[in-house]
């Protein structure tokens, strides 16, 4: 069964791929086994992240990007992530509404996911989904995420190019500084340029970026101050790229040529950077740390929920028999694992 599905996924079979993605999403043990087999076939896809607040126009832009890459005869996969309702655990996944024109195109695979809030995003599986699609020969993978929680940051790190989409009048610029969006963006898009205030949003963003540039130059001047771990937490992006701020009106397809050109330009810069072994190493380090953290959390969690371990620990805590630090250390020792 396992080898059969791997063969099918590698051949780009839609049904098998859809099923594997389900297993990944559900956190099934089989998924990990299959990902190990698929991993050597990854590394070929062009991965583009599209992130920003709900309603900014990400899905509408993604629809145009699908068309652009299809016109170049590339096979395109879309991973569209919407939030899970914290109240019910359910979700309405509506990104496809804007992309249904491509539903029956064999060269397009669109998959919607809910964030599910796996332990606060610490075990999000989006990067595994991207790896599976990459192995399956999907040449362009567009990942649409909302906001910048931990899971989004992870997936945007995996992306080679990240587009941050904003709309005027949503207070997005302010949001951007708070959320640290400036660091993850390779391209800024101010969408809904048909609305009032677009030019102002562009100007304010541009101003913030200029400020950022000064700060970075300053940092670079004072040499490497970061620990290895801090560096690993930061997004690795090619040096010397200045994120452009573009204006689009996605509903009318305006500004899309410029966006596609910026995407291609950045892709070229990315490919050039990949000739530097240190750049590649930094990206691999991040990928590993992402998988490592998820493995740790998942292992720990399955130990805790197994045979009432968590309850026993809390009982001891409540009886005053031990402190949480000792208990946590004991639990970590007990997790072990193959």
């Amino acid at each position: 069964m396992s080898t059969e599905i791997v063969q099918k996924v590698l051949a780009g079979d839609v049904r098998a791929t859809a099923r594997l993605l389900r297993w990944i999403d559900d956190g099934r043990g089989e998924a990990r086994r299959l990902l190990k087999v698929l991993y050597p076939r990854t590394g070929r896809a062009r991965i583009i992240g599209i992130t920003g607040n709900p309603g900014a126009g990400k899905s509408t832009l993604t629809d145009h990007l699908i068309r652009y890459f299809r016109s170049r005869d590339l096979r395109v996969a879309v991973v569209a992530i919407d939030p899970t309702s914290p109240f019910s655990g359910g979700a309405i996944l509506g990104d496809r509404i804007r992309m249904q024109e491509h539903a029956t195109d064999d060269g397009v695979f669109i998959r919607s996911f809910a964030t599910r809030g796996h332990l606060g995003g610490l075990t999000s599986t989006t990067s595994d989904v991207v790896h599976a699609l990459d192995a399956g020969g999907w040449q362009v993978i567009l990942v649409e995420t909302v906001g910048v929680g931990q899971d989004e940051v992870d997936v945007q790190r995996l992306a080679q190019t990240t587009v941050v989409v904003m709309a005027p009048g949503m207070g997005d610029e302010i949001q951007a500084i708070k959320a640290g969006v400036l660091e993850i963006a390779d391209i800024f898009v101010v969408n809904k340029a048909d609305r009032e205030g677009a030019d102002r949003t562009v100007r304010e963003l541009q101003m913030m970026l200029d400020l950022e540039k000064v700060t970075q130059a300053e940092l670079a001047h004072h040499g490497p101050v970061q620990s290895l771990l801090a560096a690993a937490e930061q997004r690795v992006s090619p040096a010397g790229w200045v994120p452009p701020v573009l204006k689009t009106t996605a509903v009318r397809g305006e500004g899309l040529d410029e966006l596609c050109r910026a995407l291609d330009d950045h892709h070229q810069v990315f490919l050039d950077a990949c000739r530097d072994p240190q750049f590649v190493q930094a990206r691999l380090r991040q990928q590993f740390l992402d998988v490592f953290r998820r493995t740790l959390v998942a292992r720990g969690w399955s130990y805790l929920v197994h045979e009432d371990h968590l309850k026993q620990i809390v009982d001891r805590l409540q009886r005053g028999e031990a402190d949480p630090y000792t208990l946590a250390e004991e639990a970590v020792k007990a997790v072990g694992g193959p």
Partner: protein, 135 residues
């Protein structure tokens, strides 16, 4: 890994009419019942619905049809799913559907038809009883 399985349901609106209120109400109720609902908007062809169901690996497809074309559209979706080897996807639906047509739809492979005014609680209960996570 922390395993967590959820029902995934495609709520689709085939046909030419623009009445999507019913579909939206059902989509929201299913979400509130803890399910993941893929919603694709108006004017979906059976081919689009089948392709979407496969790509999204849904457990069931709920169709809302107000245009009177249910005798064509329902069976077309069921047939399309079978042709793709996805015959284990449950197909149910609702809309303005005369009682006389219901047996024929059942014969065509539609598991359940809800007529207007069915309380959403009843639809959710039916889905819980009759739809299982696939794979």
């Amino acid at each position: 890994m922390a395993e967590e399985r959820k029902l995934r349901i495609l709520v689709a609106k085939p046909g030419l009419d623009g009445h999507d209120r019913g579909a939206k109400v059902v989509a929201r109720s299913l979400r509130d019942a803890g399910m993941e609902v893929i919603y694709t908007g108006l004017h979906q062809t059976p081919e689009m619905i089948v392709a979407t169901a496969i790509q999204e690996d849904v457990d069931a497809v709920g169709l809302s049809i107000m245009s009177g074309a249910h005798n064509v559209l329902f069976p077309a979706v069921v047939k399309g799913l079978r042709e793709q080897g996805a015959d284990d996807v449950v197909v149910f639906g609702g809309g303005i559907i005369p009682d006389d047509d219901i047996p024929r739809l059942a014969e065509a492979g539609v598991s359940q038809v809800f007529t207007p005014g069915t309380p959403t609680g009843q639809i959710i209960e039916w889905v819980r009883q009759n739809v299982r996570p696939r794979g």
